[in-house]
């Protein structure tokens, strides 16, 4: 970018403007003066040619050359006319008849009406008419010297005017520049100082009320605004910093609270998990308790019979021995004692054998349910043994259970968890399905479908409420909340079926019409790590 000062720009602009204006004026005046002069000269020469033509018509017609020359000689009074000639055109062609002065060397007369400007003269040719007929030609040459002198004088005047105007322009430019530059320099100095010190309270002194004064006023107003903006910006920054600090404190406080809450939640979760495990264990213990109760109930009868028989036999044996000692024993009494002894022993053996078998069966169930051992087993046997441990719960209630399972279903799975599943579903039906009911039927049926066995545990009890149905396998969901129900029974069933037995479970129920739990179990359970809930 060219570094030109404002004063130089103003001076050069004004000088250029004046120069341009004067040159344009000079050209315009010159053109108009020349044009006007030439038009005037054409008009005057035309009038003169007409007059001369009229004056020389008679000498021309009467061939009085002296007369024509005398007329032309009168032109000497007009210094502008430098040449005039009369040509006779009454015969064929044209002949020079009379002349005055000297024609320009380069000028060649042509017999046609015309006016032509050369550098120094106007060449005009006009016909000489008499009574409408052409009798000759008049060639008139008038000098442009007056015009040239006039233009020369005009040029001198314009040159003088140019000098005066340029001087005035320079002087004016200097004055304008000073009047403009002084406030501008003050503006620049103030701007530089503000840029350097960032002190927006500085102002420029306003010394005039003109446009420059308005500029200074506008600059000061702008500084007012900037100062206000800067102050507002600083205030807001301070507020933002305070808010940031407060926010940071709040965030730290909330973080601490969250960390504390997380710790508490974690502890609570651990407690819950522990409680859940404890409840699962309690559920298992409860199941075992039920098993023990069943065992006690089942072996009570044969053992009672055995005790009764042994007591009765002991009394009879004592009476027999007393009679033997007293020698009062009779043959018939010996035979009766022998007969009673044999029957009693048979009855005793039968009762004790029955009790032994029951214990063996219960032992297997107990071992299965506590060891979660995987082995091959017959489905109907495991289900039957489990049901035997549970049927005592139906005592004094008119609730029947029916097992309808094919006999040849051999599974390689976990009989203990399966028994727990059957037991939980049975207990669920007895406790919840037949709550408040004295009659009912529980059916356990099944069928083999390829590599799966489908078991159905069906009751015709109260069914499951619709609001609980979609959550029935979730933990702590029970219709006996606060009445002894843990809400873990079906949850445990669901976990055992999915995670241990590798099957799936679903339920179909209608309120007051019963429920049907459907288990689809693989005949060969997947090998998995057994997890106990």
């Amino acid at each position: 970018m060219m570094k030109i000062s404002l004063s130089a720009k103003v001076v050069s602009s004004l000088v250029s403007l004046v120069l341009l204006a004067l040159v344009s004026l000079y050209i315009s005046i010159t053109y108009h003066v020349s044009s006007a002069y030439k038009n005037k000269q054409v008009a005057e020469s035309s009038a003169m040619a007409e007059l001369l033509g009229s004056m020389v018509s008679a000498p021309l017609v009467f061939a009085q050359q002296e007369g024509a020359e005398m007329v032309l000689a009168a032109l000497s009074t007009d210094p502008a006319v430098t040449f005039a000639a009369v040509y006779d055109a009454q015969n064929s062609g044209y002949d020079l008849f009379a002349s005055y002065g000297s024609v320009d060397p380069d000028m060649v007369f042509r017999p046609e009406a015309s006016e032509q400007f050369t550098e120094t003269s106007l060449q005009m040719v006009r016909p000489i008419l008499l009574d409408g007929s052409q009798i000759g030609w008049l060639h008139l040459q008038t000098s442009l010297r007056p015009l040239q002198l006039q233009l020369t004088e005009l040029s001198k005047s314009m040159a003088l005017a140019l000098v005066i105007a340029l001087s005035g322009a320079v002087l004016l430019a200097i004055l304008i520049t000073r009047s403009l530059l002084d406030p501008l320099l003050r503006l620049r100095a103030t701007s530089s100082k503000i840029a350097e010190t960032k002190d927006y309270s500085l102002r420029v002194e306003q010394k005039s009320a003109d446009e420059i004064g308005h500029l200074v006023s506008a600059f000061n107003s702008m500084l007012d605004d900037i100062e206000g903006f800067v102050q507002e910006k600083n205030d807001r920054q301070q507020q933002i910093q305070q808010l940031n600090a407060q926010l940071e404190d709040k965030v730290n406080e909330r973080t601490r609270q969250l960390e504390s809450s997380m710790t508490q939640l974690h502890a609570t979760l651990q407690n819950l998990q522990l409680a859940q495990r404890q409840m699962v264990e309690q559920e298992k213990l409860a199941s075992l308790g039920s098993l023990v109760a069943g065992v006690a109930h089942e072996i009570n009868t044969p053992v009672g019979v055995a005790v009764t028989m042994s007591t009765t036999f002991a009394e009879k044996l004592q009476q027999f021995l007393q009679k033997v000692s007293a020698g009062q024993l009779r043959r018939a009494e010996l035979a009766e004692f022998e007969h009673d002894s044999v029957e009693g022993l048979e009855l005793l053996q039968n009762s004790l054998g029955k009790a032994a078998r029951l214990i063996q069966s219960f032992k297997k169930v107990a071992v299965d349910q506590t060891s979660e051992e995987r082995r091959e087993f017959r489905l109907d046997e495991v289900v039957g043994e489990v049901m035997r441990t549970l049927r005592h719960q139906l005592k004094n209630r008119n609730i029947q259970y029916q097992i309808d399972l094919p006999e040849d279903v051999l599974m390689d799975s976990y009989p203990g968890p399966l028994g727990q599943v059957i037991g939980n579903l049975f207990n669920n039906a007895v406790i919840h399905g037949f709550d408040g009911l004295d009659t009912g039927v529980i059916q356990i049926c099944g069928r083999v479908d390829g590599q799966l066995v489908e078991l159905q545990v069906i009751d015709n009890g109260r069914g499951i409420a619709q609001k609980l149905l979609h959550r029935v396998f979730e933990p702590f969901v029970t219709s006996k909340l606060g009445q002894g129900g843990s809400g873990l029974g079906l949850h445990i069933v669901h976990n055992i079926v999915l995670n241990i037995l590798g099957g799936e479970i679903s339920v179909d129920t209608q309120v007051e019409q019963g429920a049907c739990f459907v288990l689809k179990l693989p005949l060969v359970a997947p090998i998995k790590e057994v997890r106990s809930e």
Partner: protein, 174 residues
């Protein structure tokens, strides 16, 4: 410059269309032709009253040479017009002067006597200078010159082209 050939120029211009008239070669005939040309040309420089402009321009010749000059003039103006008026040439003795606009007097013609201010009399070279004529032709050396009677000009209603007036010399005593 072609000084000295003015007569032939004048005749040449006048006889350019006067077929046959140029056959006359002797000096008397040429002088009469010259007079006829002067008569025609003088008539061209006269501005006639508007009332006459719808009528033919009637030129009457009187005197001894009226017939011969009139014949030459008649031949010379044949087919020509002056100020868009046809030209009639009368050279008989029974001229009705009042119907003439220009009257040329040759030798033997009586002096101009009409009191009409619209009649223009021209005295020929052979006619004695008549004080009633507006113009008079006189032989000066071998050239004809035109004399002007200013008194008649001042009294006449006929307007003469200034160029012709400038060419004419005043009559003696004026």
């Amino acid at each position: 410059m072609r000084k000295g050939v003015g007569v032939s120029m004048l005749l040449g211009a006048f006889l350019l269309v006067s077929n046959g008239a140029g056959a006359q070669s002797d000096a008397g005939q040429q002088f009469k032709q010259l007079q006829a040309a002067w008569i025609y040309n003088i008539a061209r420089f006269i501005d006639y009253p508007p009332a006459q402009k719808t009528q033919p321009l009637r030129i009457c010749l009187m005197g001894n040479d009226a017939e011969s000059i009139g014949a030459m003039l008649r031949q010379g103006v044949a087919g020509r017009q002056i100020q868009q008026r046809a030209i009639e040439v009368s050279s008989g003795g029974n001229n009705e002067l009042t119907s003439c606009q220009l009257i040329y007097l040759t030798a033997g013609a009586s002096a101009a006597s009409s009191s009409s201010q619209q009649l223009l009399y021209i005295s020929g070279p052979d006619h004695s200078v008549d004080r009633g004529s507006l113009f008079a032709l006189r032989l000066q050396g071998n050239k004809l010159e035109l004399l002007l009677n200013k008194q008649i000009l001042q009294q006449s209603d006929v307007r003469i082209n200034p160029s012709l007036l400038r060419l004419a010399r005043p009559m003696e005593g004026q």
